[in-house]
Point group: D2
Chain length 239, copies 4
Amino acid sequence: MWSNACSSGQLKKGIMKNLVRGWIAIVLLIFGTAMSTMKVKRVIFFGDSITEAAVKPGGYITRIADALAKKGLGDQYELIGAGIGGNKVYDLYLRMDDDVLAKNPEIVFIFIGVNDVWHKTSFGTGTDADKFERFYTAIIKKLQARNIRVILCTPAVIGEKTDYSNQQDGDMNRYSQIVRNLAAKYSCELVDLRQRFLAYNLKNNPENKESGILTLDRVHLNDQGNQLVADEMLEALLK
Amino acid sequence: MWSNACSSGQLKKGIMKNLVRGWIAIVLLIFGTAMSTMKVKRVIFFGDSITEAAVKPGGYITRIADALAKKGLGDQYELIGAGIGGNKVYDLYLRMDDDVLAKNPEIVFIFIGVNDVWHKTSFGTGTDADKFERFYTAIIKKLQARNIRVILCTPAVIGEKTDYSNQQDGDMNRYSQIVRNLAAKYSCELVDLRQRFLAYNLKNNPENKESGILTLDRVHLNDQGNQLVADEMLEALLK
Amino acid sequence: MWSNACSSGQLKKGIMKNLVRGWIAIVLLIFGTAMSTMKVKRVIFFGDSITEAAVKPGGYITRIADALAKKGLGDQYELIGAGIGGNKVYDLYLRMDDDVLAKNPEIVFIFIGVNDVWHKTSFGTGTDADKFERFYTAIIKKLQARNIRVILCTPAVIGEKTDYSNQQDGDMNRYSQIVRNLAAKYSCELVDLRQRFLAYNLKNNPENKESGILTLDRVHLNDQGNQLVADEMLEALLK
Amino acid sequence: MWSNACSSGQLKKGIMKNLVRGWIAIVLLIFGTAMSTMKVKRVIFFGDSITEAAVKPGGYITRIADALAKKGLGDQYELIGAGIGGNKVYDLYLRMDDDVLAKNPEIVFIFIGVNDVWHKTSFGTGTDADKFERFYTAIIKKLQARNIRVILCTPAVIGEKTDYSNQQDGDMNRYSQIVRNLAAKYSCELVDLRQRFLAYNLKNNPENKESGILTLDRVHLNDQGNQLVADEMLEALLK
């Protein structure tokens, strides 16, 4: 449990506010003990508003920390949320020196793509597929050049309908395929959230609803969504 | 065969040019005979550039005329193409008095929707789903008020990939479902081209190509595409 | 004053709610007297959300009614608001039979265009310039065929900056010019709100602010904006 | 003249093809002489398709080289074109290490912005204003950290009409103002092409045409446009 984890461990929180388009919350969850001599693995979750919210109570990063503590692994991992609302792949590239490389992580989860697709029609400022691939590739290469273990996540959903009639389904599938191909090409592990979300909804969304199964609003995660992401990422992390 | 149809019948062609955004070709295909006493059924194909091209040699309207002639039914149907490139559902509504009602058809095929979806990202001028339904409904009601038999067609494809990764697949499925629902609600026959095109591609597009199976360019029909549309429409027409 | 107008006259309000995308308020302001034998002129204001809000207290239609009452002309005009939020020019065309022609007005103000421009980037569903002109023309012709006096209004503003750096300024100027050209071509009176709003802001917006001078939010009118529109429309009405 | 410049100098051309979205032509124009002991200043023109075309005969970089040769300064400057079609500000940021910093220039002209605005409605993939500023700032800082002289250019035109009715005028003015503000903030020289193009068109485009005065197609430069840009940039270069 969280309270036990805190009482037996140590919790550091650092919140850096970004005043332009959102804020970034970085929560350092160190479950180390005084006598531990093993190296703590620093894990950064690099993403958009979904990841920005993930360090809150109930968020997927908080749930991963909780699960690690339960397994007695709390002192081996330091989890850092590096999500900023509205971010697209090129925003990650722009801030990766400050928000990722400067922190010397062992492991980085990249979880991006929703805004690259979504903003096409909501602001006219989405990301072309070829440029999505180009920036994503540049991020992977920079991380791997530092021997950082890179875990890629496909963007999950914009709308939870299961008959492929969510407006952005075509692009979401296309951009997810780009991520899958990059994972194969650069030998990265893959957390295929898009595939997992669809599988979950095929079972649990018989009414073909737009939201409310894994998301609050078609995009941002509810409790079940945060748990599903936490489960999938934890499995990849401990593999 | 076409030549037989022509030699035993009569072919009138009227081409009216629209100089603003395209042109409308109206081809009157009357396979009447002098002694015929039966009423010739006038059929209008009401749509966009796909229908505009359909009156050319090899086009789907030409193929339907050909097939009717082969069946010896050439003298019972007059086929009129009323397609204009770039048209969305509200463009059909605007010109339906002149291009459809003024011609007193017995039967009207409505085949629209591609531009309503496509122009969202290519020009920023697509059609909202609720307004697509509203204008489509208004067209059906006006036609049915004249006791015209209305046959609805779902928009076929923007891209032929079969893994739902064509950019507009989500919207295409959504707008097609609106058409299916309207067919049910207003007791119209339905030619579900979207469903048929996908089924055909699942069999005949093993490489998951974007175009070249039923289309020339992801949207406009090649020979196979024109034949498939002709077959489906003919079956509905003779039902 | 409004209270005098009410005590010496008669006020009928009918509010019809549209639950899909907004609501339409039709307020009938009849300042007739028992002995009056003159014909009351029915005036319809046909537009979008700006006009939908105009029948509320402080709205531009309410202000015109007020001003007419002050001039002792309250018994000569019946003002009807026919604005629906989110409407573009083709929405007006679709509903003009029910919302305008069925009411047999003498005079119709057409005040549309903001959403035709705005929705290009906010939803990908704006209106192409050529189609804006085509539907606008169709509306004018249908009204003039009934001998209705048609008064055109240019769309005012999306953003009040005066250095032509509001995102949609280019399109707003272009679509306004289309309206000016139509007024000339079809001999309609013109209320050039775009020109008037800019002139007002050049005097009263020295800080080049986006909103707050004539609008609440870059588009919808504040008190000053409603007064300016009321003044301009009243002048045209009484010309 | 060009031929004289070539006969008295040396011309090296290197053309690197980018097969994905266009090609980049880098032309090295070294007007050095054998006995010259002065340091040759390397100048990079960093931009989009307008700059990509500028190294061709008649292009603005070619014209600057020509003018320098005429002034007898041909041996003091090496001009490098680093333009790629379709580039937006973040594309420049992504490739600046390879295409600019690796070449150790003394001077860099940044000429970007048209696609950041244009692609909003043509592909739904433009650049938000705040991110335009953020990436532009990052480029300036990286260059200035190397003591490179940075010269900023406002994006010129998308359409040459002078009454602010080109569709993208609002955004073009807004993004140009961002560039002007950055020039002031980071003490960079400014070549205000947008202002200069408008001034030129106000004199030379009395018919308010969309293109043909300084551009071929509303965006890309004709001879007059290339000459105007060359004149303005040369003046800034020699200041």
